[in-house]
Symmetry: D2
Subunit: 345 residues, 4 copies
């Protein structure tokens, strides 16, 4: 089967590779022509322009976009006049699901299908396969099934003893393709909605590990001096905080048989093994939108999300965004109690 890919960054390029390996053919386009040439040398069909890209696609055409959310809309606008009834646009990036709802209702009358595919797997997807959360009209999604099957991990032996295991040859159960790593979640927007919540959960899970490991790191607080002034809480029972915890070893042991085993823990243990003090990081944590949109959805639908919001707001704080609020607190403390700020030690 043939497909066209626009956007050959980390994600897009590896997805093309995985499709090529599965025997599909790919027309590729990017404003960075080096990226195009690189994939051409691996067997993809290069396109020199958007027009060239569209021309090289067999009908019905499928144009799959892997672009930053801020750019996707403009690219769709350029692409749209070049396409014909029956063609399919796939947005596989981290766009807001609302864009897919809007685009689909706009493009449907023109006979164009808009399919949103939330894609998880990161840099490991090439090897491991991508988990795909798909929204869009039935026909288009069905048409793309071979592509989804190629990108997804496929049937793996179920290694979790907590599950009814089904070997690779077993028939699919009522979840259809879920066990293969891809799922048609609903109409246009449903794929990105599910991916959005996936990332919202990801923020929370990551923060849970990070906070816990930070507590382990502080387990030797009883060995440090704490000044005895009115601005500092005394550590009443230092005898309970005299542990020097080996963080790489602890995160490793948790990977084997504990309740909190996970792929994120695998990665954390690997990162701590390579760099126990994490000296290569400054601690300014980006967020690319899904965590925010998850919270907005929670707010709109009256769903409490205290953990997911705490995780998001910590990322904001890590980038200095609470500075003015903190100054206000110090100003209030000075105003009512004459408390002066203590300098950084």
């Amino acid at each position: 089967m043939q497909i066209g890919m626009i956007g050959l960054g980390r994600m897009g390029a590896n997805m093309v590779r995985r499709m090529l390996r599965a025997g599909h053919s790919c027309v590729v386009y990017d404003i960075n022509q080096k990226a195009v040439a690189g994939l051409a040398s691996e067997g993809a069909t290069p396109a020199a322009s958007l027009e060239d890209f569209v021309q090289k696609l067999e009908k019905p055409r499928t144009a799959w976009l892997m672009l930053p959310a801020a750019i996707t809309g403009a690219q769709v606008a350029k692409l749209e006049p070049l396409l014909e009834k029956g063609d399919i646009i796939v947005d596989g990036g981290n766009s807001n699901y609302r864009d897919a709802v809007d685009q689909a209702s706009r493009l449907e009358p023109k006979g164009l299908a808009y399919v949103d595919v939330g894609t998880s797997g990161g840099v490991w997807g090439l090897e491991r396969g991508y988990c795909l959360m798909i929204g869009g009209p039935d026909e288009a999604v069905k048409h793309l099934d071979p592509i989804f099957a190629a990108l997804a991990p496929g049937a793996e032996p179920d290694t979790s003893p907590a599950r009814d295991t089904a070997g690779p040859g077993a028939p699919l159960d009522h979840f259809g393709t879920a066990r293969l790593g891809y799922l048609h979640c609903g109409p246009s927007g449903a794929g990105h909605f599910v991916k959005m919540v996936h990332n919202g959960i990801e923020y929370g899970v990551m923060a849970a590990y990070a906070e816990g490991i930070n507590i382990l790191k502080a387990a030797n607080a009883g060995d440090s001096h704490r000044p005895a002034d009115a601005e500092t809480t005394p550590l009443g029972e230092p005898q309970y905080y005299r542990f020097d915890i080996d963080l790489p070893a602890v995160t490793e042991v948790w990977r084997h048989g504990s309740v909190i085993g996970s792929w994120l823990l695998d990665l954390t243990a690997g990162a701590l093994k390579a760099d126990p003090a994490l000296q290569n990081y400054g601690g300014r944590v980006s967020d690319s939108g899904e965590g925010r949109w998850t919270l907005k959805a929670a707010i709109d639908t009256s769903v409490p999300a205290p953990v997911l919001s705490a995780a998001l707001f910590d990322r904001f704080s890590s980038r200095g965004e609470s500075a003015f609020a903190d100054k206000l607190l110090s100003a209030m403390r000075y105003a009512f109690g004459g408390h002066a700020e203590k300098p950084k030690e």
Copy 2:
């Protein structure tokens, strides 16, 4: 090797079985003599009383306790006068790590070793092995190594593509036994400290999934009527909330290749598959202490833990513990704005 086990509930009984299967011998005691008889029929040596239990142990004796935290201290007090210099008490339950610090400093002068073993794995541990986080004096921990090795999962093929994989026959790396699923974390108390934080993280990870899935469930909010009164926020854009998400299928697909794959997700997908509406649960979530103690440790050591605390407090709220606070909010709203509470729909 021989060991004695006191407390034959879910955890204790299965741990005895796993040790028996590995060729160790076990003396077993419980106030519930049926539990004792049951394990005797599986090859354990039954003890009729604490005195009998101690008498049947070879020196140096090892008495392993698997009891609720509220009972362990009293049991140690009864056991202590029956033991001799060189004997070992193991607390494998979910006790506060501070108890281990205190017990060890009290028992050490008497020549008794106190080993605290945080044990994760739940009802799956019999089959899957237990992740063991161990605190205590070097000699005693070394002495018990064959027991730990039998209880732990042991070397598994490393299925995570994110890790340097090392097959079952590969030499252990610098983490020593961590790759086998057990780890000597430090002096007495260190094992339960690490287990405590493990459970604190567990609360956070669980809450992240629960909140996210609750948002997915509400993705059809745009199909519901929301009353147009001053006490209700209008849902401005219902067109973005018209998805009926198949929760069992989504949690299943996330298991395959996504960033948030984990054992807790495996269990969640299984639970939702068996009972999609979770009708068997009322939503009153217990907590058994570790989450609380994790937060107290965070507070003592000045470590921010907003996610872990939100997860804990949600459990309290699930049991109705915010009721009076909520009444206060309604009372304030009535007082300043004349707002009357809306009845439950």
Copy 3:
């Protein structure tokens, strides 16, 4: 000066009364003609229909709307064709500030001014005056100054010893009218934006008191029995929780000289005095939108708001919205540990 008021609920009716007392004249309209007749008997000019309302207004007309947010937009749409260039629409309700931004940019080309007035003061405003946060074009806001001055508290003796006090006759400082209780905050939308954040803060302040008082109420926990099972955290040191705190008296004493004195505390103390167990409340706490919108603004602008979000989500939870998430937690606990839910005592 003359003004027209649409919406004669709690807020609208009292605002009319306060304007009448200040010597202004008011044309009043409501779909509830009883409300219209009531205010007519107090000196207002009744309107039988929207057309009648508009006809009775002197030019340039000012139509002030005090309606639920869900209705305001539709009312503006009906009103708009009846108005002429130079007329002013005031939205004094709790609308989303985005509506004001949109309405203003739509109506400005037609020569209609849109003024948004965030109004705080609740049922006490008639007596105490309303705090007004105003957005809109300079000319319209200036035109309405006598109305704002009548509605606002006006110059009060500054009773806070923490402030440079300025008596009622003192000249206004560089904040212009802020000391009188009303402020032109910026262009259309700015008034409701400031009021939105005001309410977001209100949620946080209310929750701080409610949580703290709930802790005081639990200060006798050491006198209660806590079951000794694996699902219940033991209360290690009951001797520290044997206080029976008199909540009405404590909230009263805090009103006199403490750092946390506030009007909300005044109201809380009054509510607890009248009904110490708050038996008249069920604890289902409504939210009318501003708290949600405040968080969305925080999310859009990358500002951490962990306290304001915790306060909002607690309101959602008070109405049962975390039920499914809590069931998921119980299901996970059962799945990994065989933990059964404990029934409500």
Copy 4:
């Protein structure tokens, strides 16, 4: 009446002054003899040593301590052998209420009364009076009533229209002295318990204002450029964030008639008026213990406190204590997605 004061810092010295002004006599002691001499020149009786201090006190002696929590215990230990049956020790500092529980049960058999007095009012207390939350045995508390009455604000005209007002001459109601600004809250420890929760609430209220004002400050985010890359969430609708809010003016207007009027808001408005950008503060916010202890009490008694905990943890974060957790998040993001941290702009 005569009283002795140990600890002549900001709080202790002003309390002595307020007692002297009310006609009481004070023996004063501090390791800083300059502070002693200063108050002697204002009419207090100076003590050159602890022995001298005790000797100059009339029986039954009252020794009132105003010291940092980390020092109070040692001072009590020195004082105790110098005192006699019937004497009273008052701890007016910010000690953990548990110390009062312990001290009282230790000293009661020796005939010494231990009275804990939570004291709020800060640097304004001299002028405004101190709010006193008192724990201790009835007799001792009754004996000290004239002192409490002198320190407390006393009957003020009740300026809150939300309350039944009672003029200065009105009889005290069933709250006894609460309306005068002091309250006997229960046995030893109760005073510091109530003060602890008071400060816990204070943290939450302060954070609510600080977060809200930080959102107001960001209301012009739509005027800034946000880079269009995969690490940055696009601001979808910049037209809604084009407000330049005058923070000093807004906090001032909120003081007049709004629901969130409070003394902390008075102080905030004053601080912003004096220094709108808060250039004199770095944003490292101290905490002196009560917020931590409030949370521990919430945890022990199963009371949800998400707002109070978020406020505490933000203070920890403001001092850099989340740095390692944030590095872990960045390390995970790099591990699964190849995301590199963005440098500070």
